[in-house]
């Protein structure tokens, strides 16, 4: 149990996907303008990530490895992820149309969110087991959502700050992300 907890903690804080591993930056910089859409994106990504992590694990272990098709992992993972995203989109459209309209543009982008594919690939690289894959997926997603939310709130404040012209927009976003990443380095050694 302690092992899983540590894994969870380390993926959320210490090896945060966005701030330390540079995965999932597009939605991080794109959606995080407003707190409510960041929350929605976080939820959607959490769902997709967890599901994708598990299903890609299953696919890899029980389909690709037995048939020695490991080199096809990238393609097959992408397909799995695309399906999961599609499913999420349909569900969201059904249950929260307003959220769907706000995130409409970004939802399909989860497909190309490298965090999702990254989780699947890192699961293989780190030789995670089934439960570990789940925990890793959840941890990644939580870490992503946490950072997304904090960043969105920060950004609401920066948006009205007197930022010098050349720094406005993406630049200040990146620098802020850098300082966030610097702060997160305080967690080094925790787990």
């Amino acid at each position: 149990m302690k092992h899983y907890l540590l894994l969870l903690l380390s993926t959320i804080l210490v090896n945060n996907f966005v701030l330390v591993k540079f995965l999932g930056l597009c939605p991080f910089l794109g959606v995080s303008r407003r707190l409510d859409s960041a929350l929605g994106m976080g939820l959607a990504t959490t769902f997709v990530l967890t599901l994708a992590s598990v299903s890609s694990y299953l696919l890899y272990q029980y389909l690709l490895v037995p048939f020695e098709l490991e080199y096809l992992r990238t393609i097959s993972f992408i397909v799995v992820i695309a399906c999961v995203v599609q499913l999420t989109e349909i569900l969201m459209h059904r249950f929260s149309p307003s959220l769907h309209r706000q995130l409409g543009l970004y939802l399909p982008l989860i497909t190309t969110n490298c965090a999702v594919l990254g989780v699947a690939l890192l699961n293989i690289q780190a030789a995670h087991g089934f439960v570990e894959s789940i925990v890793f997926g959840i941890g990644t997603a939580l870490g992503f959502s946490l950072v997304l939310l904090l960043f969105a709130a920060l950004r609401e404040r920066i948006d009205v700050a007197d930022v010098p012209l050349p720094f406005q927009g993406a630049s200040i976003g990146l620098i802020t992300a850098g300082l966030m990443s610097m702060a997160f380095m305080g967690f080094i050694g925790l787990a």
């Binding site: 701030l19 982008l109 050349p166």
Partner: protein
């Protein structure tokens, strides 16, 4: 035609630079740009993918259903990346190792799917190939600049470990820009990557502002 090529080059390298303006494909950009050599490796791989995928998609655009084009594009790109990955595995194993999962992650580089959707799916093969090349070059320039900046700042060197890419003869390519330099370690770490790119983007904006005033 010449003028077209010229404008498309300017566009790809400056006005519509995928990394600095559109902010696409940042994940690998930030992750591998800690040295020039790593940057160069990924730059080549990404440019190659862009050219190939643009060409393939432009070629096949006639017989793809509009509704399912995106998944198909992604599949094609994934195929191309897999091929490149296998090639790198065979020929540049050390570099392949040090780039890690960022080679397969080229698939999810938004810049590639973006060009496929915006340009290649609407244009013939030849312009699409050119577009891929130009956009890839723009991305590469940003990547290498960032790599150089971070390498100089963090270690005071350039082209260290060039042998990973260029073979054993490149071992002495390393340049020491500063002697007796204690190195800003931060630049090599994730925060440094973010901040350096942020400053690079700001620099580009500032230059734009300066030009537009003149």
């Amino acid at each position: 035609m010449d003028k077209n090529i010229r404008t498309s080059f300017i566009n790809g390298l400056w006005h519509n630079n995928q990394a600095l303006v559109a902010l696409l494909g940042l994940c690998p950009l930030l992750a591998v740009s800690n040295t020039v050599v790593n940057s160069l490796g990924l730059a080549i791989a990404t440019t190659l993918t862009l050219v190939l995928s643009n060409g393939l998609i432009a070629y096949s655009r006639g017989f793809i259903l509009a509704e399912i084009r995106l998944p198909l594009f992604v599949l094609m790109i994934a195929g191309i990346v897999t091929i490149i990955e296998l090639m790198m595995n065979a020929w540049f194993y050390q570099l392949y190792k040090s780039l890690g999962i960022f080679i397969p992650l080229i698939v999810t580089n938004c810049a590639i799917i973006g060009r496929a959707e915006v340009f290649a799916s609407k244009n013939p093969v030849l312009p699409s190939l050119l577009d891929g090349l130009v956009m890839g070059l723009g991305f590469s320039v940003a990547l290498i600049l960032l790599g150089a900046l971070r390498e100089v700042l963090s270690m005071g060197t350039l082209f260290s470990q060039a042998e990973l890419l260029f073979g054993a003869s490149a071992q002495h390519w390393q340049m020491n820009v500063f002697d007796d330099y204690s190195g800003v370690l931060l630049a090599a770490l994730p925060p440094g990557a973010f901040i350096a790119l942020g400053l690079l983007v700001a620099l580009k904006n500032a230059l734009d502002l300066l030009f537009s005033k003149k």
